[in-house]
Each structure stands twice: as structure tokens, then as C-alpha cells.
Assembly symmetry: C2
Homo-oligomer: 371 residues x 2
């Protein structure tokens, strides 16, 4: 059932998207500014469910691609997304019925709304991950053999590169080279899907979920009640993130982070808040990948791990982690479709070079409780 996205929801969406980014996806602050700009003369954007998309209608997932750290210095001019979409429509010989976020994590939850406002299109309340991931093939579309190509990438000069390749891994490789040549940040429209395909592959309702997460925390804070109780409460009532836990509470005592191969990779170590003892170590590649409590895995990709400020519950992206920050670590389950054997082969622990097997966070929690 369709609803309407309004300006006063931008902050909630940005908050929720930062949380669902699991440390990655880019800081939604820039996204908020761009969306606010796009909505100056647009009161509302129609948000439709997957079921409202006609079977044969064309939906185009989109978002920014590149290094979020660069985006802060090199702002988009605001026309990249529309140029990219028009090129892709030209290749397909078909007009888009709606747009949607490729990923709900980070600033890319907001960018498709700015595009929707600009073009007067509806946005589909869904994405292809239920979180953020660093590479193009890491989505439920790929799990269901829906191809990333053709993909159109546009930079701030309006230059556009259209990629055709059978393999999503090839598209990722060629797109990454283009992104670097374009100055490490540009706009991507890709993965043209029909309503029928969306019914098979989309992770549904994630735009609403992100808004809801943000709203729950904001309302708790304005009522001066515990934002963590509100956050966990909201997540547990949601369809995908229902197994949610505060995994750890402490202070960052060590941080090792390099930018290599276009990614922020590293590890953060958090010492427990006294009188508790012990340490949590989290490995990340843009997104948080695995959280170990005194060496024991407490949560692992594709389940979500987000580090948040221990007072405000504000999410902290991996590039914003700092020595001495007081934080809590929240873990929650990924959508069921993200945990299938095929899905795990694409974005499970092994895809990130981890040797630990995937174990659902709810099982890890039981094991931890009964240790």
C-alpha cells in the first residue's frame, strides 16, 4: 500500500540508514542535504510497495558508488542521477516506472529519493540487501540470477559509462575502474528489474524500516527514555532484524585502519565498561564483518553489526571510529533471503576472506548465554 515520504522524515531515514549501513554505506549527512535540496519544491514522494509495481514495469535500483570519504570533498552537482537513469533507459528502450535504493544502508538510502523527487517518480519501499555491502554482486538480485548489467555510471561532468557484461563480478571490476577514473565517486543506475522480478528478489519494506528505526530512537530521546530499549524494541518487532542484541558496551582501546584497494579495512578493539571485563574485536571492510568477544564469534556477516555511541545511540561508520570513543555494539539478524546457502556464497564470511563459518546471531547468542 502506497504511502508518502515527506521532508520531516529525512532525519529519521538518515539515522535508520546509518544504522542499517552496519558501519558502511557512507555517512548519510551528505545524502540528507541533497535530499533536502531535491525536496525544496516537492512536498511528498510516493513510496510504493513491491506488490504495487506492475508485473512488467521497469524499476531501476540506484545509488552512489565510490569512496564515501571522497564524497564529502567532491559534492555531486545534483544531475548525475537523472543523467545516468536516462542513459540506462536509452539502452533499454523503456521508461522507468519507479526507482529504488540498491542498498538501504548509509547515504544510498536517501539518494534514490532525491532522484524520485527530481523526476516525479515513485520510489519502491525495498532494496537488494536489507543493509549495505561494498560490491555490486553482493545483493539478493544476484542471488536470484538477476544481472547488474547494463549499468550506467555518471560523474559530475555528465560523462557516462555504460557497462555490459554477463558476469556481475566483471561489471563490478569494470565499474570499479571507471569509478576510480571518475575521481572515486559517481552515480550508478543498474540492475533494471521488472515488477515480477522484484517480487522474487527484493528485500521488502526496508525504506519504511529505516525510517521507523530512526523515529523510534528520536522519540525515545525526546521523551528522555533509553534509546537502546527503543531501538532493540523496534528491531525485534520488524520482519528481518527481529533477532537483535546489544552485544557489547565499552571503550575503543585500539584501532587499526588502512585504506587499501578502495576500501577502509581494519580492526577495532573495545574494552568492556567496568565492572564488566573482556574485549570485543570487530573486523571491517567498509562494513563491519565479524564481532568476537574474547575470541568467541558473537555476530558475523551477513548479519548486521553496528557500533553506536553509548549515550545517544548514534551509529558510527567505520571511517569515523576513534580511539577512546564510548560505544555499544548492536548485532541483528539479516533477512532470511540473505542467509541461504547461495546467498552466503556471495556475501557470507568467505566472500570477505574470513574462515569462520556463518552462524545466525540468535544461535551465537544462545551459545554465549550457555557457555
Amino acid at each position: 500500500m502506497s504511502s508518502f515520504f515527506t521532508r520531516d522524515q529525512i532525519a529519521d531515514l538518515a539515522w535508520g540508514a546509518a544504522f542499517l549501513g552496519a558501519g558502511g554505506g557512507g555517512d548519510p549527512y551528505i545524502g540528507s542535504l541533497l535530499l533536502r535540496q531535491a525536496m525544496l519544491s516537492v512536498d511528498q514522494i510516493r513510496m510504493i510497495s513491491v506488490d504495487e509495481v506492475p508485473e512488467d514495469a521497469l524499476v531501476i535500483p540506484n545509488g552512489m558508488m565510490g569512496a564515501p570519504t571522497v564524497l564529502i570533498e567532491k559534492l555531486p552537482n545534483g544531475n548525475e542521477a537523472a543523467t545516468s537513469l536516462r542513459r540506462l533507459e536509452g539502452v533499454l528502450g523503456k521508461t522507468a516506472y519507479a526507482v529504488m535504493p540498491a542498498e538501504i544502508g548509509g547515504l544510498n538510502a536517501l539518494m534514490p529519493l532525491a532522484l524520485a523527487a527530481q523526476l516525479g517518480l515513485p520510489v519502491v519501499d525495498a532494496d537488494g540487501m536489507g543493509r549495505a555491502f561494498p560490491e555490486l554482486q553482493m545483493s539478493t538480485f544476484h542471488v536470484h540470477d538477476q544481472r547488474v548489467a547494463p549499468a550506467a555510471i555518471t560523474d559530475e561532468n555528465g560523462s557516462t559509462v555504460v557497462i555490459h557484461a554477463d558476469s556481475d563480478y566483471e561489471v563490478e571490476r569494470l565499474a570499479r575502474a571507471t569509478v576510480v577514473a571518475m575521481g572515486a565517486t559517481c552515480y550508478l543506475c543498474c540492475l533494471p528489474v521488472s515488477g515480477a522480478q522484484l517480487r522474487i528478489s527484493a528485500v521488502r519494506g526496508t525504506l519504511s524500516a529505516a525510517i521507523g528505526i530512526g523515529r523510534a530512537v528520536r522519540e525515545a530521546r525526546s521523551r528522555q527514555v533509553d534509546p537502546f530499549a527503543a531501538l532493540i524494541g523496534y528491531l525485534r518487532a520488524s520482519p528481518y532484524y527481529s533477532s537483535s542484541y546489544v552485544l557489547f558496551d565499552g571503550k575503543i582501546v585500539d584501532l587499526d585502519r588502512q585504506t587499501s584497494g578502495g576500501f577502509a579495512r581494519g580492526a577495532v578493539r573495545i574494552a568492556a565498561q567496568p565492572p564488566q571485563q573482556g574485549n570485543m574485536e570487530i573486523l571491517f571492510q567498509n562494513e563491519n564483518l565479524v564481532a568476537r568477544h574474547d575470541g568467541v564469534v558473537r555476530a558475523i556477516v551477513p548479519d548486521l553489526i553496528t557500533v553506536v555511541d553509548r549515550e545517544t545511540a548514534a551509529p558510527i561508520t567505520t571511517e569515523s571510529l576513534r580511539y577512546g570513543q564510548r560505544v555499544k555494539v548492536i548485532g541483528c539478524s539479516a533477512a532470511a533471503v540473505m542467509r541461504s546457502a547461495k546467498a552466503l556464497s556471495i556475501f557470507g564470511p568467505r566472500a570477505f576472506g574470513l574462515t569462520d563459518p556463518f552462524t545466525p546471531i540468535e544461535e551465537l547468542d544462545q551459545q554465549w548465554a550457555s557457555r
Copy 2:
């Protein structure tokens, strides 16, 4: 007036194209093999003049892009060119009437003929340089404000990247990044031109000229007469290369060559054949750029400088230069359109970082004679 290209002309074309490559353009040997393969069941390819192309017909210049040194190890599968052409036709919504070489130097003189044979299309007897150059904007098309984009680049897997950009320099930059990601060699169809545009910008008759150069030397050698007299004689009778000279005769005594930024850059020094004295130094970036005789410029880009074997007159590409080789240096004039002020701003000495001004080879020859 149209003529026909036949298998027995392949060797002559390869020879002439190597000469017109001015040290670059890639060794035509691989091109010969691929063209021979493409002509196994094709007796002849129609070669048409620029005037035979209807005003509004679409002609697509094409060739390989990348590092010729890599091409020797990573052979094309033979379908790249057709895939690239079909993608470009798709973008344009129009079918190609004919193909043509983007550059007549090196292996790229032969590749469009292989494509023509494969698709049963005619090839236009012309190119956009009358020689070889390393970058996409270095052509008479660019001089006449005809744009490289859209450009389609295809690799041996059939993956294709289509580039749209207003600036030819941007296309070059984005294409170069793609070429590197594709493994340093791939096929390029670009610069869609109409018959009307070709009449303005093309360097005409260069395919015939390359074949004629090869034939003149082959016939001289088979009659056991001086191949240099035959070569210079043919060039002087041609419309573009009419100011032609043997600039030097000697032995390579020093060679400094690095592969950097995707180019073979360096300098070669040749000591005169006794009883003559003195040295010639040639600077190159894939192609030979400037030849100095005891410090005095004898020829400079865009005029052509080619180093050849001093016995057989076989052209030696810059990557094949070796210490101790006995060589002659041939210089000849570029087409008049290549020497205009605008042309020189695009591929004159300054475009290659040289501080010497452009002076036509015939003037330099007079200065040298009267020194």
C-alpha cells in the same frame, strides 16, 4: 572509385602500415594473422573512397586500443570487433554502412579489414591521422570538432563499455582506465561519422598508400634494386608524404626505454655509418617524436619519423629497437590537414611535452643543406 582488397595484398599493407606507424601503432604481424584468418572464406573486401560514401551514411572508425606488447601474449578471440560495432550501432539506432581504420599506422590498418570481411561491409580508403598516434583525441576528426563519443570498447570475454562524454580528452581518460581493467588490450569502435563529415575530416587514400608503400619495397627487393630508392620514390609521388628523405644512416649505440603510464617512452642514439660522422638522437612515446642530428632538429611530430633496417628497409617499431642494429632513419611530411595551427595544438610537439616548435620537414631539410 571502389577497388577490391585481396589476400595477396595483406603483406604489402602490413609493411606499409608498419612504416606509417612511425615507430608505433603496434607490430602488424598479429594483424596480418587475424586478417588472413578473417579472409579464409572471403576472396575480396570492397574498398571505397570517401566520395563513394553517401552523405548521410554511417561510417565507424575502429581499431585495437591498448599496449601492443600485451597483444602478442593475449590474442583476440576474433569476435570483439563485431560485438563492439553492434553495441555502438545499438546506441546510435543506426546500422553501419562501412568501417574504416581510425589510424593507418601499425596493426590498426589491418584490423578494420578483418571486421569488414567478417560482416561483409566495405572499408573506406582513409583514416583520421595518415599515421599512428597514441591517444584518441589525436586525429583530424578532433581537429574538425567531430567527437570520439559514443565509443564502445569490447574485451575478449565480450564485455563492452560504452563511453559518453562531451570532451574527447575525457573519453580518452575513461577509455584508458577501461583498457587497463580489460587487461591492456581490447577493441574500440568510436567516432561515428557521416559521409558528409568524412568529406571534411578524413585523410584520404591512406589504405591504398600503405599498400603501395609495401608493394614498392617488395617489388624493388624482388628485382634486387635499392629498396630505399623505391620507398622514397613512392612516397614523393604520394599526396601526403611527398617531402621524404633518408635522414640518417648508422648504428644504434644507445637506447633508453621505459614503459610508463601505458606508453613506451625513451630515446635512441644512432652513430653515423663511417666515413660519415655525427649522431642522430630520436625521442619517442610509442611513436617517434623528434629526430635531432648533432642537436639540430631534422624532423618533428606530426611529420613522420621511421627507423628501418638499413639492408631490407623493414620498419622497426620503438619496442623492437635494439643496441647494435644497423638502421636508416626516414622522415616524411604529414598531410597538410595535420599541420594546421589547430592540428598542431592537438598533436604537435607541445602535446608531447617537446619545447621545439613544429617546422615542416622540407624546411628543416633546406636549413640542414644550407648550414
